[in-house]
Structures are given as C-alpha cells and as structure tokens.
C-alpha cells in the first residue's frame, strides 16, 4: 500500500461516517440529475425517478463495491456485523442473559484464580535479584531429617568456604514483647544478619535499613519496623526515627520503616514479620560458638552471579563432604549431613503450588463447561435461524462471510461476558484478604495487565470455541433441506441434534472430572475432621504468652529455673482459680500447631541408631496438661509436681515413638538424652516414665515424627508458653480474665491468641477447607451447568418435535412411552458422558494426590457416588421436558403445524 492509498484508507477509517453520507449524497445527485433529464424528455416525475433508479442498478451493491474500492469493505462489514450481532443480543434478552452469565461465571472464576496464581507462583519475588536468592537447607539425609538448621560456625563456613554465595544471612523468627504502650504487645520478630536488606535490595521507606555499622557480637541496638506496625502502633508518626522502644525489656532504637509492600520471604510464626533486629549471633544472649549447636533455624543466600543452580549444588556437595571429613565428631558418618540451595520462590510457595494448580485446573474445566453450554445454546438458536441462513446462502452470500458474521456475534457475546467476568473477579478478589488460609504473597494479588490480558485471552478463546462449532454447522446448511425443513417448521436437522447430543455428553464428562476432584478433596477434609486427634478438643481454651529474653542475661528475670518454675506454678494456680475453669495447664506448644521444637536425641541402648543423628519433636508440659487434653495414658505414670530440676530427669513418649525406639521392649525405665540448649554437648539422660496415646501434635494430616514430652520444670529457658484450660466458658469471656491473672504476676507479659482448641484445629485445616470448598463449589456449578444443558436440549427437542409427538400419540402411543423416550435420551447422553468422564478422572486424580490424605486417588466411594449423583440430576433435568412431552395434545400439535 503506497502513501496515497494509505492516506485514502485512513481517511475512511477515521471519517467513515461522514464519507458514508457523502457517498449517499453523490449517488442521490446522480439519480436525481438523470431523472431531471428524463422529465425533460417527457416522462412524468414519478416515472422518471423510477426509470433513473432502474438504469442505475443496485444501489447497495454499488455502494459495497465503492467501499471495496478503497479497501474498507471488510471494516464496514465488521461494523455492520457488530451492529447486527448487538441488535440480535438485545432482541433476545433471556438468551443473552443466560449466555453472558454462564460465560461471565467461567471468565470470572478463571480471572480470580489466575490473579492469585500470577501473584503467588508466576511473578518473581519483588527483590533485586530474585533468581539468585536461595533458601539454604541443611539436612541429615541419613535419618530423613530435612531442614535441621545451622550452627553459627556452619554459617561462617557457608560465607567463607562454600564459594557459591555472595552473601548469606541467618533468619531466626520469634516472638518479642513490645512494652510501653497500653498493653504489652506480642510482636513477630525476625533476627537477621546485618546484610539481610542489602541482599534483598530493599531500602527503607523512611530512615535506614541495617548496614555494616550494625555489626555486633550480640544484638545491635537498631531495629527496623514494618509499615503496618508503624501504622498500628505509632500512627505513622514521621518522628518515629530514633524512638527508643522496649523489646523484651531491652531498649532498642527504631532506625527505619520498611516500604508498605515488603514481606519477609520465608516462613513466619503466625502473621507477617513486624519488627527486624540484627545480631552477630556470637555474644550474649546467644549460645556458645559450637559447631554442633544447630540453633539457627534458617538461612538465605545470594548466589554469586553467573553460577547455575547445578554448579552451585555440586560445589555445595563438595563443601559438605569437606566439612564432614574435617569435623568427623560433629557430623556422624551415618547422618549424611548435606546442604542444598533451593530457589527462594520455590521454598516460599512450594507448599501451596499443588493447591493453586488444582484450583486453576478446576476453573479451566469450568470455562470449558460454560463454553460447551453456550455453544449448545447458540446451536439451538442457530437451528431457529436455519432458514435465514439458507435464504442468504441461496442469495449468494459466501460461506466465509457468514461464518465471519456468526463468529462476530459470538465474540461480542464473549467480550461482554469477559467484562462482566472481570468485574465479578474484582469483587471476588476483594474477599481474598479475608481468607483464613496462610497463602504466602496473598497480599500481592491484584488485577494487573497480565491478569486482564489473561481474561481477554480466555474470553476470546471461549468465544472462538463456542462460536466456531455452531458457525460451521449452520453455514453448512443444505439450502434445499433447510428451506424444506424450515417450511415444515421443524427447523432442525438430525445432524444438529447429534452435535448437540455430543456437546451434552462432553459436558457430563467434564462435570464428572470436576466432581471426582471435589469429591476426593472433600473426603480428605471430612476425613480429617473425623480424625481422632488423640485428645478431646471440645471445651478447651488456650492462650499464648511470651516470656521476654533480654540481651543482657542479668536483666533476664526468667533465666533462673526456680523463678521460671515459680512463675509457671503461680500462673497455673491463678488461671485455675478463675470461676468456670475446671483444670489448667501450661505447655510449650499446642496440639496440631506444629510449633514444637525439633531436638536431637540419643537412645541409650541403641548407640548405632543414635549415631545417625536422631531427631524428635519435644514438648514441655505441666503435670495437668494431659488431663486437660483428656489424652489417655497407656503405660507408666504422668508427670508430677515433684519432677523438678535437680531430681531425676524424666520424659514421656507417645505410643508410636515407643514402638519406633524400643520395638520389642517395655519403654518404661529406658533412657533418652535430649539435646536442648547447652545440653547438646554434655548428654543429660532422662528416664521414660510414661507412654501416652498418640496426639496429633504436628497437624491432623501429619504423622510419623517421634514425640517426646518433658516436664516444663526440667527444661531451661522456656520462652513461648501456652495456657490450656478445660472450661465451660467461651474464649472471649475468658480472655480478659486470663490476661488479668497473668499480668498480675508480671505486668509486662503479652497474652495473645486466646482461642478454643476447636478454633486451633479449624485454623490448621483452613487451607484444606478452602481448596475443598472452592473446588466443591466449582463442582456444584459444573453439575448445574450440565443439568441446564440437558434440560435445554430436551425442552428444545420436545418443542421442535411436538408435531411428531402429536402424530405418535394420535397413532396410539402412550404418554408414558413418550416421556420415557425423552428421559432415556437425557439419561443416555449423561451415561455416555459418565463413561468418558470416569476414565478421564482416573487419569487426572493421581495428579492431585499431593492434596489428599487418607483417601486414595481412585477412591471407589467417590468414583461410584459421582456418576450416581450426575445420573439422578440428569433424570430430574429430563423430567420436566418429558412431562411436557407426555402432555402434548395431539389435536393441538397437529393443527399447529
């Protein structure tokens, strides 16, 4: 296209409306001039105009040719198709509403879930070098213990000897109490190395982050706070910098506030990190510099530029081997100590990936179903328009032209639905923040251009998908047949009905797949609700508290075991005295929360086993704890008030642990050594005094870890404590009373997270509940769509074939026979769908096995129930049209046609 032509074309594009009217004027001028000449030749005015028009020829087709001359016919046709399509949609509001709602549901669900997937899984972490950041994981592979943490010497070696990291930071998450405000507050704190923020490439919103100036042996004075803490606790006071705050009774200085979007890219305890402190981890209050004291729970590394993950891993393997050889005493050969570098993003979102992918799969099935349903609707409407199509074909419209027109119509439909869908998604996403699940990066969820692009793509694909089949089908119309059939008023060919039947069958198949998925997830979830947690969770209220750990050991009022134990006894006594409390106890961690400490242990009689580096979850409890839980004692005795420091150290184990450690012996009286704190280096032997029935300590869906219980009085340096009471009162009414009793002993102790044990359990299942209920909801939608499809097809069939039905009845067919024919068609098509859908589900089900617990992917219950439900629904959906068919009045039906 040369410049002249481009200019002329553009002129048409831009001023099309004006040029159209000029075209009109020009042609009218021609015809009127011609007519005037004819009048001069003696024709009457009327005859002259008529004659002039005839001589001119088909005005519309010439106009069309004129548009084609300047290359804008296609554009004009699109315009008229859009106009035509829009008018059709407006003319048929019921059809349009059903189609738009169906599709909007599909697009909306896809957009909402995709925006979560995009934010959580696809977008890289919002840091300077997201692809070089790794979580460093140490494992004792020999005993299957993963992520065992680091000792400070190991961290030093990772920095100086491993040769793969530019920088390494320790990450220690913990609680801290902030005092000085109205209430003592429990905050989530993260202790990091001074290079933490520079590694991530994050700078402060106001003030500064940590730098080389903050390097100390112990804690530095500087702390950095999150934007949300700045808002909630300090009212966004710009003069916050330099403010002194009491953290665990230590004075610290706030030097910076982080930007609003910043989140610690790692696991947290309960919420997001609110305050960051930095420390060298080598002086007080930290443990001694010892290679075997792996008390630093986590580390993040920044890989050197240009090092691939494989290279990094092979160097880390060599590094681990070198350390094992060099410090044979600290790395028992059988423990097979090793280091891995896991991409930070993977480690952060790895555990939610299966769930999100399953949700994404579910919404893809939903949009497929919605498309098939709308295709069905369009087919039904297209058969009504068969005559229009046939007439146009007969008049010489090209097939391509007609397909284009029909596709334009479906694209309008899909784009309108897309817009409604995106609006739906926006509303739905508004509720994301209220989700109880702890999905990382959820706060980053937003509808951005990627998401909108995805929504557009989905809408267009759906539009093409559901538009193409009916378009091809009706443009193929055999003119002769269509006009003949049309004349008879049936308007639908056998072929179209077969196609619609196929669509219904595939809808059923898709619904089966979704329902099987939902069934498996729901069975998992319900199974977990039924799971015996090993205790009686009803009528238990728990509250957490935090004993501050000041940097200076001399300031630590709970450093001495006697004082700590006095506090514990006094707290239990006071809480027990609250009216309505039957029993009170304290524990270091509550069941199903997975907050217990993982400690290295040795079994006295099995040094071989022990040398592999055994680990166990350890929980400290007061004597009443098991009575509060109503857990059953299997052998031996419970702890007593007399199990004190200085007395014989005692321990209880659960049944599975007893079986694992002493497979063929009575565990009572056997001895274990437990590495807590400084005890790692000089073994302290504890005797087993009791065996308790298994308690699901790590979550209802977790089992297999060994568990040991210790008397709280014999554990040094307990900091996180939970009060657990058996009571008939509610958590809300108990909260102020518990707080008052605890703070009567020490007004600086924060009391937080007061909730019932059932709430604790619900919280631990929240993520499963979320995915199960969401997929369950999608399955219900699928079932609904499928039944609407079946109903639509049959109702249409009955109305189209009322003539035939009338004839049959006139010839003596029983109404019940007619009804049966209709029902058997609906149920039959569903049956075909089930036959296709079940094997399909069989292939898909193992893909979600990561989300299943206690249910096999090919669970027969689910695979039998789903087809049953679907067939019953199909039966119901067929019933109404069948009844209508049975009530056809032959006389009326025959007269009508």
């Amino acid at each position: 296209m040369n410049l002249t032509r481009l200019r002329s074309w553009l002129k048409w594009m831009v001023k099309g409306q004006q040029l159209e009217s000029e075209m009109e004027t020009e042609l009218r001028f021609h015809i009127e001039s011609r007519a005037a000449d004819l009048v001069r030749k003696g024709l009457s005015q009327q005859d002259a105009i008529r004659q002039a028009r005839i001589e001119f020829g088909g005005i519309e087709s010439y106009k069309d040719a004129m548009r084609a001359s300047v290359g804008v016919r296609w554009w004009g046709e699109l315009g008229s198709d859009l106009h035509h399509g829009w008018r059709l949609l407006c003319k048929n509001p019921a059809f349009t509403a059903v189609a738009v709602l169906t599709l909007a549901l599909g697009v909306g669900a896809n957009t909402a879930i995709f925006s979560i997937v995009n934010a959580v899984l696809l977008r890289s972490l919002p840091f300077a070098h997201p692809d070089r950041l790794v979580k460093i994981v140490a494992s004792n592979r020999g005993v299957g213990a993963r992520d065992i943490g680091f000792s400070v010497p190991e961290l030093d070696d990772l920095r100086s000897r491993a040769g793969v990291f530019d920088q390494v930071t320790a990450t220690i998450s913990g609680d801290v109490s902030l005092t000085g405000g109205e209430h003592p507050q429990r905050l989530e704190m993260l202790v990091v190395s001074p290079n933490y923020f520079s590694m991530l490439g994050t700078s402060a919103h106001i003030g500064r982050v940590f730098g080389p100036g903050d390097e100390e042996q112990g804690f530095a004075d500087a702390v950095v706070i999150s934007d949300s803490l700045w808002a909630s606790e300090f009212g966004r006071d710009p003069g916050i910098l330099g403010r002194r705050v009491q953290l665990d009774n230590d004075p610290n200085t706030i030097v910076g506030v982080l930007p609003p979007g910043f989140r610690h890219p790692g696991s947290t305890i309960a919420t997001d990190v609110e305050i960051w402190a930095t420390a060298g981890l080598k002086g007080d209050p930290f443990p001694e510099y010892n290679r075997s004291l792996r008390w630093v729970p986590g580390a993040i590394g920044l890989l050197k530029p240009g090092i691939s993950r494989e290279q990094a891993q092979s160097r880390l393997n060599a590094f681990a081997a070198q350390l094992r050889a060099e410090f044979a005493n600290d790395y028992p050969a059988k423990s097979d100590w090793s280091i891995e570098a896991e991409p930070l993003q993977d480690s952060l979102v790895g555990n939610v990936r299966p769930m999100l992918l399953v949700l994404m799969g579910a919404v893809v099935l939903i949009i497929l179903l919605a498309s098939v349903n709308v295709a069905n609707l369009l087919l039904a409407r297209a058969s009504g328009r068969q005559r229009e199509m046939a007439v146009r074909l007969a008049l010489g419209a090209s097939r391509a032209r007609m397909i284009r027109q029909l596709l334009t119509e479906s694209l309008i439909l899909s784009l309108v639905s897309g817009m409604v869908g995106v609006l739906t998604a926006l509303v739905a996403l508004h509720f994301v923040q209220f989700l109880p699940t702890r999905i990382p990066r959820l706060a980053e969820v937003q509808v951005d251009w990627t998401v909108l692009g995805f929504a557009l793509l989905v809408s267009l694909l759906a539009g093409l998908g559901f538009g193409l089949v009916p378009a091809l089908q009706s443009s193929k119309a055999d003119i002769a047949v269509a006009i003949r059939e049309g004349a008879r008023g049936s308007g639908t060919s056998g072929k179209t009905n077969r196609l619609r039947g196929l669509l219904i069958a595939s809808e059923s198949a898709l619904a089966v797949v979704l329902m099987v998925g939902a069934g498996l997830l729901l069975r998992t979830f319900w199974g977990l609700l039924q799971e015996n947690p090993g205790f009686n969770p009803s009528r238990i209220v728990a509250a957490s508290l935090w004993l501050p750990v000041p940097d200076n050991p001399e300031m630590d009022r709970y450093a001495k075991p006697e004082i700590l134990n006095t506090f514990v006894r006094e707290a239990v006594r006071r809480v027990r005295a609250i009216p309505g409390v039957d029993l009170a106890s304290m524990t270091t961690d509550l069941p199903v929360t997975h907050l217990s400490r993982r400690v290295p242990i040795n079994i006295e009689e099995r040094p071989d086993e022990s040398r592999k580096g055994l680990f166990s979850e350890a929980t400290g409890v007061t004597p009443e704890y098991f009575k509060v839980l109503q857990a059953s004692l299997v052998r031996g005795r419970l702890f007593a008030e007399d199990d004190q420091p200085g007395k014989q150290l005692v321990v209880m184990v659960d049944e599975s642990t007893a079986r694992t450690f002493w497979p063929d012996r009575d565990p009572i009286g056997r001895r274990l050594s437990i590495g807590i704190g400084r005890a790692v280096t000089n073994l302290l032997w504890c005797s087993v005094v009791g065996v308790i029935k298994d308690i699901k300590n790590d979550g209802l869906d977790q089992s297999g870890s060994p568990h040991v219980y210790l008397p709280i009085y014999q554990i040094p340096r307990v900091r996180v404590l939970s009060v657990a009471v058996r009571t008939s009162l509610s958590a809300t009414s108990l909260e102020p009373q518990i707080r008052r009793e605890i703070q009567a002993i020490d007004p600086n102790l924060p009391v937080f997270n007061v909730r019932t044990m059932n709430e604790v359990i619900d919280g631990s299942l929240a993520s499963r509940r979320f995915s199960a209920e969401l997929v369950g909801g999608f399955a219900v939608v699928a079932l609904l769509l499928a039944s609407v499809g079946i109903y639509g097809l049959l109702a249409y069939m009955v109305s189209q074939r009322s003539h035939e039905i009338g004839v049959r009845m006139a010839l003596g067919a029983m109404p019940s026979t007619i009804g049966k024919i209709i029902v058997s068609r609906g149920v039959g098509l569903t049956g075909i769908g089930v036959v296709i859908g079940l094997p399909l589900s069989g292939i898909m089900a193992p893909m979600i096995s990561a989300l299943l617990y206690g249910v096999r992917p090919l669970d027969p219950g689910v695979f039998l129930t789903v087809p049953l439900i679907l067939l019953v629904v199909a039966l119901l959906a067929s019933y109404i049209p069948a009844r209508r068919a049975a009530r056809v009045n032959p006389i009326v039906a025959l007269r009508e046609s």
């Binding site: 040369n2 002249t4 032509r5 002329s8 074309w9 000029e22 004027t25 020009e26 042609l27 001028f29 021609h30 009127e32 001039s33 011609r34 005037a36 030749k41 005839i54 001589e55 001119f56 020829g57 088909g58 005005i59 087709s61 010439y62 040719a65 004129m66 084609a68 001359s69 300047v70 290359g71």
Partner: protein, 123 residues
C-alpha cells in the same frame, strides 16, 4: 436512450465495454475538465456518439478506485442547477497514467488490427 430495456440489459447496436477500459475512459473524460459523476457518464456517451453504453452505477466504484489510486481527486462544488455535487479532476499522476494507458491501447489496437488483416499469403 432506448438502448436499455427495463431490465437494464444492453440491447441493439450498443458496444459492450471491454474489461478494464472503463477506467481509461473515465480518465479521458475528466482530463477535458472537472466533472461530477453524472457528467462523466454524459461526456463518455457524448464523445462516443451515443455508441457506448455503460452501467451507470458501475461508474462510481471505478471513480472511487481511481481516486484511491491517486489518479483523480475530488472536491465538492456546485452543479449547473445549483446543487451540491462532487467534482472529479485529473491529477498529475492521472495524466501520466492516461498517457501510458493510451500508448498501451494504441499499440494493442494496431497489433490486433494488423493480426486481423493478415491474409493466408502473408504467413
């Protein structure tokens, strides 16, 4: 003017227009001075001595095509009977094009004429 019957079909001794010659005739017609569409029709009929009949409507797609090519240009003006009409005028490019087309046509015409004159002896 009775060359067209009511069906608009050409009857009598009118000469059918050869494919592709309409453009050339239009260019020739407007080369003699600016014309509106109806004027183009009249002028072609006039110079052909009423021998040539063209489908009136088919003029317009051709006019648009020629303008799109940049060989003619148009502007709105007033007709003899004081009405708003669109006048077409030849452009420089159109003049070159007309020249080239005329050359080509003449060559072709003489070639075909000489071929038709050919007698058996000349082969």
């Amino acid at each position: 003017m009775s060359l067209l019957d009511t069906q608009g079909e050409i009857v009598g001794k009118a000469i059918d227009l050869l494919q592709g010659t309409l453009d050339m005739l239009i260019l020739k017609a407007v080369s003699l001075g600016p014309l509106h569409g109806y004027g183009v029709l009249l002028r072609i009929q006039q110079i052909s001595g009423e021998q040539l009949e063209i489908q009136q409507g088919s003029l317009y797609p051709a006019l648009y095509r020629l303008e799109h090519q940049g060989w003619i240009t148009s502007e709105w003006g007033e007709s003899d009977n004081k009405r708003k009409a669109k006048f077409y005028r030849l452009t420089a490019a159109g003049r070159r094009q007309l020249h080239a087309e005329t050359e080509k046509w003449n060559r072709m015409a003489s070639l075909i004429a000489s071929m038709l004159r050919t007698t058996p002896e000349e082969i």
